[in-house]
């Protein structure tokens, strides 16, 4: 089914990119305090949304894989973990640039930054485990994803409760209040959601193909056809 959907989704997200980019500069109001720096908001926020959606997909599919043991769910878990790690890196980089412009500091231990960083570290851990843990990599990565998902509410409570972290002023909340800004932002979220679907579907296909080749090779080895 995803064979036909991928080109359609890719085309739609490409159109979305161009339209969002155009509206970002021509339609959305110009921020007087942050000037052009504010424009990164339209990339940063959609990336953050996708980070959380991809993480949720990864956690749920990992749990289903552990319980049901169907390779399909493992493919989805791996693909969404990789895509989530990618979007997470984008969130941290764009967030860092924005922080430099808005707060004049590249990194600060603010709530949202801390949470994104911890989430991203878990995701990178999943990708690393998948790549280097050999035969039991699928189970280990799924376990890490499930425990990582369990940790999210605890990390949330933790960063909210500790007065350890300095607050770096209001971030996006005040900025996002203007209706035109909101409109362009949601268009960006939609665009990146289509892009996210494209990426995950493509990766699921390639992971499934890799698995098929591996299984065929093992069959061939067992039958003595391959050496």
């Amino acid at each position: 089914m995803s064979n036909k959907a991928i080109p359609v989704l890719a085309t739609l997200s490409a159109i979305g990119f161009v339209v969002t980019l155009w509206l970002m500069y021509s339609f959305a109001p110009f921020d007087r305090a942050l000037l052009f720096n504010q424009k990164i908001f339209y990339w940063h926020v959609p990336h953050a949304f996708m980070l959380f959606i991809a993480t949720a997909v990864c956690g749920v599919s990992s749990l289903i894989f552990l319980k049901k043991r169907t390779a399909k769910w493992d493919d989805l878990a791996l693909a969404s973990a990789e895509v989530a790690a990618l979007f997470g890196a984008a969130v941290l980089i764009t967030g860092s640039i924005w922080a430099k412009a808005a707060w004049d500091i590249w990194w600060t231990w603010e709530k949202r930054l801390t949470m994104s960083l911890l989430l991203w570290l878990t995701l990178v851990g999943i990708v690393l485990v998948r790549r280097f843990a050999g035969a039991s990599a699928d189970r280990l990565a799924a376990g890490l994803a499930v425990f990582g998902t369990l940790g999210i509410p605890f990390i949330y409570t933790m960063v909210n409760a500790s007065d350890h972290h300095p607050q770096a002023g209001a971030g996006g909340a005040a900025l996002a209040s203007h209706p035109d800004i909101k409109l362009v932002m949601w268009l960006g979220v939609l665009t990146f959601f289509l892009w996210f679907l494209t990426l995950v579907m493509m990766r699921v296909q390639s992971v499934a193909a890799e698995r098929e080749v591996r299984e065929l090779r093992e069959k061939g080895l067992d039958a003595g056809v391959l050496s």
Binding site: L63, L66, K67, R69, L118, L121, T122, G125, L128, V129, F132, A133, G134, A135, S136, A137, R139, L140, A142, G143, L144, V146, F147, G148, L150, G151, F154, I155, T157, M158, A161, S162, H164
Partner: protein
């Protein structure tokens, strides 16, 4: 109830092996002590800094020593492939897992019992001003590390790069535990001591441990199937 009795039996088996060789306890405790000495050399020992830095030092020492002990405790089951025997034993897998977790929790508590007085001694930290909350925090921390650690160390048993991958997997999962432990210890050392905060983080640790335990019990079997 019989699950718990069998778990206690598995734990007692592990602890008896350990009591005979004392390999893990001695090496872990020595390693923990070494870390404390390295801290005393690496960081300035000033009363104001000590109060802020000691909680982190304590939990990093427990994290490092705990990971080493975990890896070693499961390596022991690998050497003669006794893990297979343990899994084949006519007891529920749950008891094997619980027994392992209990014995490792005991080992980590033993290490904490060495590291904490050493930190108090070398850095002149007033850790024992109110010992009860400290003991509770350390025990809850040890249970959490042992619980999550056993799940993954058991799954990593057959993996070649398990020594590197164990911390890679454990630390992201255990971040809430380490941070809560550090905050609780920090609140104990603060002037004036902040008991409300201490008990808040103790409650946090308790809920975390309970949630992690429930999840481990639920997915342990799916993870370590051979």
């Amino acid at each position: 109830m019989s699950v718990l009795r069998q778990a206690a039996r598995v734990a007692w088996k592990d602890l008896r092996i350990e009591l005979r060789s004392r390999e893990i306890v001695y090496t872990m405790a020595f390693f923990g002590g070494l870390i404390v000495v390295v801290y005393s050399m690496a960081f300035p020992v000033r009363p104001d800094l000590v109060r802020a830095a000691v909680p982190g030092m304590l939990w990093v020492a427990i994290a490092f020593a705990g990971t080493i002990g975990l890896g070693r405790a499961f390596d022991r089951e690998r050497e003669n492939d006794t893990m297979r025997a343990l899994l084949l034993a006519p007891i529920p897998r749950l008891s094997v897992f619980l027994g392992k977790a209990i014995s490792i929790a005991v080992l980590i508590i033993a290490v904490a019992a060495v590291c904490t007085p050493l930190l108090a001694l070398f850095l002149d930290a007033p850790l024992f001003a109110d010992p009860l909350p400290l003991v509770i925090v350390l025990i809850l921390g040890a249970i959490g590390i042992a619980n999550v650690g056993s799940v993954f160390a058991a799954t990593l048993l057959k993996v070649r790069s398990r020594d590197v991958l164990l911390p890679v997997i454990l630390y992201p999962i255990l971040i809430p535990l380490f941070v809560a432990g550090t905050h609780a210890t920090e609140a104990m050392l603060a002037i004036p001591a902040n008991p409300d905060k201490v008990w808040y983080w103790i409650g946090f640790l308790g809920v975390y441990d309970a949630a992690a335990l429930v999840l481990s019990l639920w997915i342990f079997e799916s993870l370590v199937i051979e």
